[in-house]
Each structure stands twice: as structure tokens, then as C-alpha cells.
């Protein structure tokens, strides 16, 4: 195993061969989307992210974990403490051991993280044709292209072009590296119905859930933008004052 790893690393570093890397050139480049969280003061669209959370709950969470997000974090999306407690209580959480040394199930609390859909990696692979559904907490930061890639990936399922050798159990996706993805198409028109009557065609559903995932990956984005604007304006003002001070000081110094 060790030798194999070293060999793999050496190959990658010293480029003895790179045939396996060539596949990376066939994927389509995901176009840029207009997101509410882009821009100098970009913020999450609360309603959109709430809808996206519903999509995650009803579709993605069947296979994908959300390890780094706790129920309490949902408060920033506009849910009340009572709503969060009620929601958390609908989940069964493994806890223990108790006084008898037994593990037990209890109702979820606001401080719990979202529970894993599978007990372990092997169970997850068994249920998914050998593929491991990745954790989604950081997904929009963990892929080249970010939210644009994640959004287009969910809509990028197509029939494989003629002559393309698609392995058994995999799907063709024009944005996925290598074009063969373990996840079958999940998002299509009407798979989710939103309580507020928002459009639920595939594009809107994918957009909403991507916004939710970006909130999950970058929960401090809004604080970052607003703090950033204040700090940067302060520094700019300071730079202007420093410039005039410097100029006055140097006025009579030929240099």
C-alpha cells in the first residue's frame, strides 16, 4: 500500500505519465450564475435558502451528510428557537453509553449536528452501488467553480454521446470530471413542492438547494461582507489622510 501511494504521488509530482489526467479536459465549463450572495454586500436570500433547506431535507439528506451544520445554525436563516427545537426533535440521534453501558436513541436537540444518513462508510457504499456520497457541508467551496459548478452539475445529466463507454451504474454528466458520476439524476421538475408556491421546475430547485449549500459552507459570509466594507473604508480613509500627511511632511525635502 505504502509503495503504491508513493508511486502515485511520484507520478503526480514528476509527471512520468498523465493519461488518466487527460479525461479532465472533456467536461463543460459551468457558466456563471447570478447569486444573491455575490457582490460587495451580497447576502443570502432567506426565503431561497429556506426552500433550499427543504430540498436538502426531502432529497439530498437521503444519502448526503451535513456534518458541520447543527440545527441551532438554522436560526440565522430566520427559523425561531421553537421551530428549531421542533425540527430537531423529529430526528433520532445516537447517544450513550448510559449507566448500563448501552448506546441509546434520543430525540434531537438544537445543539446536535445533522445526523448521518448511514451508520458508516461501508453501509453508505453498499446502498450506493459502491460510491460514497460526499458530505455536503463544504461542497460549494470544495469544487472548482464553487456554487456555479454545484448548480450546473445537478442539471447537467444527459444521454452519453455515441461511442462513450459508460460504466454500469454510473450516469453521464457533462460537468462532472470524467463525465461519469455515481449519483443518478435527482433534481427534475416538480420533485419538491414549496409551501410558498415558488416555482419548482428543476432549475429553480437546483438554484435554491445550491444557495442553501453555500450558506452551509460559508455561514459567516454576511458578517464577512459587512465587516469587510467597514474595515476597508476605514483603511481607505486612513490611506488618504496618511497620503496628505506624508506630502506635507516631505514638501520641503527635494527627493
Amino acid at each position: 500500500m505504502k509503495k503504491l501511494l508513493l508511486a502515485a504521488a511520484a507520478v503526480a509530482a514528476l509527471n512520468v505519465s498523465s493519461t488518466s489526467l487527460r479525461a479532465a479536459e472533456h467536461e463543460a465549463h459551468p457558466p456563471k450564475e447570478d447569486w444573491s450572495f455575490n457582490g460587495v454586500l451580497g447576502e443570502f436570500d432567506r426565503e431561497q435558502v429556506q426552500r433550499g433547506f427543504q430540498v436538502y431535507k426531502e432529497i439530498c439528506s437521503a444519502c448526503h451528510s451535513l456534518n458541520y451544520v447543527a440545527f441551532r445554525n438554522l436560526e440565522t436563516l430566520g427559523y425561531s428557537e421553537a421551530q428549531i427545537k421542533t425540527l430537531a426533535a423529529t430526528y433520532d440521534i445516537d447517544d450513550g453509553p448510559n449507566d448500563q453501558g448501552e448506546m441509546f436513541k434520543r430525540k434531537g436537540k438544537a445543539s446536535d449536528r445533522f445526523p448521518h444518513p448511514f451508520p458508516n462508510e461501508q453501509a453508505a457504499r453498499l446502498a450506493n452501488n459502491g460510491a460514497l456520497p460526499p458530505d455536503l457541508s463544504l461542497m460549494t467551496k470544495a469544487r472548482e467553480g464553487g456554487p456555479d459548478y454545484v448548480y450546473h452539475l445537478m442539471l447537467g445529466y444527459e444521454d452519453a454521446p455515441a461511442g462513450f463507454h459508460l460504466l454500469e451504474g454510473l450516469s453521464y454528466n457533462k460537468y462532472f470530471p470524467g463525465n461519469q458520476i455515481g449519483m443518478p439524476k435527482q433534481i427534475s421538475d416538480g420533485v419538491v413542492t414549496f409551501a410558498d408556491g415558488s416555482p419548482n421546475d428543476a432549475a429553480h430547485i437546483a438554484k435554491d438547494v445550491t444557495a442553501f449549500l453555500h450558506w452551509a459552507a460559508e455561514p459567516k459570509l454576511e458578517a464577512r461582507h459587512s465587516t469587510g466594507l467597514r474595515v476597508t473604508l476605514y483603511a481607505l480613509l486612513f490611506a488618504v489622510l496618511a497620503f496628505f500627511y506624508k506630502r506635507r511632511l516631505w514638501k520641503n525635502i527635494p527627493h
Partner: protein, 406 residues
């Protein structure tokens, strides 16, 4: 007039007689440190580098309070910093991007020294200490990049530590020592964390030596000629004011990246937890190593590649003697000036090649660039010194300054 000394003055004089620290500071960076009056804004980058070192140490100390150097917890502890620690996201983004900006500043500082011949006599030791700082920064940056224990942390560590296995006879033993075992694992992470905390303070010590070595001959200047006492002005307040202005402008740019593009310079794969069983499709080091990574890759023999890579930095220690010209500043060396900018463009191209998949054009350009890097330093520089006719030098800084003012 009251000739009676104030109490504060008395305490100050009592203390200065025992430890003259205020006088020492005044001589180091104050009113008693004379600096040529004609320094341009390229001379701001030394103090900017010192500022970045301070930012890195302070943000790093607070990160270390919340970070856990264990393979099962390191990645999670970084995410806890990002999500649950008060302003943890700010501290981490300042630190992660701070490394990049530290390198940007230091690269400009080094190139300024190369353009204006600041490495030439009598500043050779100053140049050497600067190179030692740079080497310590490279090591610190590499060690620090491993700590979040993402995919690129793990695989970067595997690839880079494996370079030492190219050393004949003892190579494998050195790699085992670096790893603390037979693969990159928990002992590796622990020692990397320890060393990542140690090396910045080594850099602080080297910075003291660097500034000491600077004060012996005094600062070089854009004309590259020795400055007469009349051509100098005190560091405080003149250059302090200029450095503060430069710092404010720099900080605006640094903050723009920290607050609006904090992951721009990072690799997305490092947001995936390290997995020894899955190799990323394309292992790339951080951008500031890329030119050297290309030199490593340009030579299809591992040992020779490693020698070329380390040699490309070590050869810089000989720069004061490779450059045979007596004229310091490129302003008076018309041919050298052209080749200097070709050297800079070549270094940028080497960096670009380092980030590409190793096939086709980047491989060819990488080899040409690696050749040119050494050709410039070993062949061109000595030749230029002998063949080039420099422009006449001004007799003094004031002569040049007053002429420009007319």
C-alpha cells in the same frame, strides 16, 4: 525657562543609563537612522514584510489556541474555528491569505534588491540573511499548509517530503525521520505543527540580523551610488510617514481579498478532508512555490530535478559575485535592465507552467524557462558586467535630485 527636569525625564534618564533601549530604537528606526532622501516606493516593501510577519504571528497564536494537531481532529477543528469561534473565520482567512501576501511582498522586496543591485558590496551579508529569511518562509509556509489536513495538505506533504528520498544512500532514512514513521500520518502532523510554531520566531531573529546588517552600510537607493551625509534624512518622521501611507494602501488590497475572495488563492480540494486512499487528480503546491516546482518538473530525473530546484534558490547566495558589474542600479545599465524584466517575465511563466497539467506546451515552456533561469544567472550576468557600457553615474544624490527638480 524652567531648567528643572521633570520627574518623567528623570525616570527616563535613570532607565536609559541602565538599558538604553529608547536610544537603541531611535538609532534603529528613529531620528538617528539616516536614510538616503531619494528612496522610491519600491523601498516600502521591507517594512510591509515586517508588518505581514507580525500579522502572521499574531493571527497564528490565536489559531493555535483553537487548533488540534491530530489527524482525526485537525480538519474538524479548522471548521470549528470557521463556524463557532468568535471571529475565527476572520483570523483564519487573515492567516491563510496573509501567507500569500507575505510572499507577494517579499518577492517584490527581493526583485527590488535585484533591480537596484542592493546585493552588491558592501551588502552581501545583508542579501544572504534575506535569502535565509526567504528559505525559512518557504519551510514555514509548507509546514503550515499541511496543518488543516485537507487533501492537498496531505498529498502536498507526501510529494514534497518524498523529494528528500532522491538523496542517495540516506534519502529514505531522512524521509522516515521527517514523517516520524513510514507514511505521512499523525506523527508527521504533530512535528509539522511544532515546527510551524517554531520557525516564525527563527524568522524574527533573522529579521533582527537583517536590519542590523542593513544599518552597517545603510540603505541602498535608486541611483545605487553611495549617499553622502548631506543626502540623507532621518528615518523618523520622513520614512515612517511614507511607510505608513504605503501600509494603508497595501492593507486595503489585502483586506479586499480577505473579505471578498478569501479562497481565491487556495485550492478547493483542500476543503476535502485528507484521505490517504484517494489521490487528487492534480497535486499542485501553493502559488508561491510554483516556479521552483516547474524547475523540479523540467528535469526528467528525480535527483537532478531536486538538485536543480534547491539549486535555483541556493545559487542566489552567489549573486553578488555572479553579477560582475560595479554599477548597482539598473537605471544606469540599459542592457541589464532589459534582461532583468525578461528574468521577471520568465519567473512568472515558470509559475504559470507549474500550475498546468504536465503535458504539451507547459512542459516545453517549463524546460525553456528553467534553462533561461540558470542561463541568466550563470552566463548572462557575468558577461553583461564585462560587455555592457553603463551610463555615466551622477556624482551625488543631490546633484541628481536637484537636476530633476529643475
Amino acid at each position: 525657562m524652567n531648567t528643572e527636569k521633570s520627574t518623567i525625564r528623570k525616570i527616563y534618564e535613570w532607565h536609559e543609563a541602565r538599558l538604553p533601549i529608547v536610544s537603541w530604537l531611535d538609532h534603529s528606526l528613529g531620528t538617528k537612522y539616516p536614510v538616503p532622501r531619494n528612496l522610491n516606493y519600491w523601498w516600502n516593501f521591507g517594512s510591509l514584510a515586517m508588518f505581514m510577519l507580525a500579522v502572521m504571528i499574531f493571527s497564528g497564536i490565536f489559531l493555535a489556541m483553537n487548533y488540534t494537531p491530530h489527524v482525526t481532529m485537525a480538519f474538524d477543528s479548522v471548521e470549528r474555528i470557521m463556524r463557532d469561534v468568535n471571529y475565527g473565520w476572520l483570523i483564519r482567512y487573515m492567516h491563510a491569505n496573509g501567507a500569500s501576501f507575505f510572499f507577494i511582498v517579499v518577492y517584490i522586496h527581493i526583485l527590488r534588491g535585484m533591480y537596484y543591485g542592493s546585493y552588491k558590496a558592501p551588502r552581501e551579508v545583508l542579501w544572504w540573511i534575506g535569502l535565509l529569511i526567504y528559505l525559512a518562509m518557504m519551510a514555514t509556509g509548507f509546514l503550515g499548509y499541511v496543518l488543516p489536513w485537507g487533501q492537498m495538505s496531505f498529498w502536498g506533504a507526501t510529494v514534497i517530503t518524498n523529494l528528500f528520498s532522491a538523496i542517495p544512500l540516506v534519502g529514505d532514512s531522512i524521509v522516515t525521520l521527517l514523517w516520524g514513521g513510514f507514511s505521512v500520518d499523525n506523527p508527521t502532523l504533530n512535528r509539522f505543527f511544532s515546527l510551524h510554531y517554531l520557525l516564525p520566531f527563527v524568522i524574527v531573529g533573522l529579521v533582527f540580523l537583517h536590519i542590523w546588517a542593513l544599518h552597517v552600510p545603510g540603505a541602498n537607493n535608486p541611483l545605487g551610488i553611495d549617499a553622502a551625509p548631506a543626502d540623507k534624512i532621518p528615518f523618523f518622521p520622513y520614512y515612517v510617514a511614507k511607510d505608513v501611507f504605503g501600509l494603508a494602501v497595501f492593507v486595503v488590497i489585502y483586506f479586499a481579498v480577505v473579505f471578498w475572495a478569501p479562497n481565491l488563492l487556495g485550492d478547493p480540494v483542500n476543503y476535502v478532508k485528507a484521505n490517504p486512499l484517494v489521490t487528487p487528480a492534480h497535486i499542485v503546491p501553493e502559488w508561491y512555490y510554483l516556479p521552483f516546482y516547474t524547475i523540479l518538473k523540467a528535469i526528467p530525473n528525480k535527483l537532478l530535478g531536486v538538485i536543480a530546484m534547491f539549486g535555483s534558490i541556493l545559487i542566489m547566495f552567489a549573486l553578488p559575485w555572479l553579477d560582475t558589474s560595479r554599477v548597482r542600479s539598473a537605471s544606469f545599465r540599459p542592457v541589464f535592465r532589459v534582461f532583468f524584466w525578461i528574468f521577471v517575465a520568465n519567473a512568472l511563466m515558470l509559475g504559470w507552467c507549474g500550475a498546468q497539467l504536465p503535458e504539451g506546451l507547459p512542459v516545453i515552456l517549463g524546460r525553456i524557462g528553467a534553462f533561461w533561469y540558470f542561463f541568466h544567472l550563470v552566463i548572462l550576468l557575468p558577461m553583461l558586467g564585462w560587455l555592457e557600457t553603463p551610463k555615466p553615474l551622477p556624482t551625488s544624490i543631490s546633484q541628481s535630485v536637484l537636476k530633476a527638480a529643475e
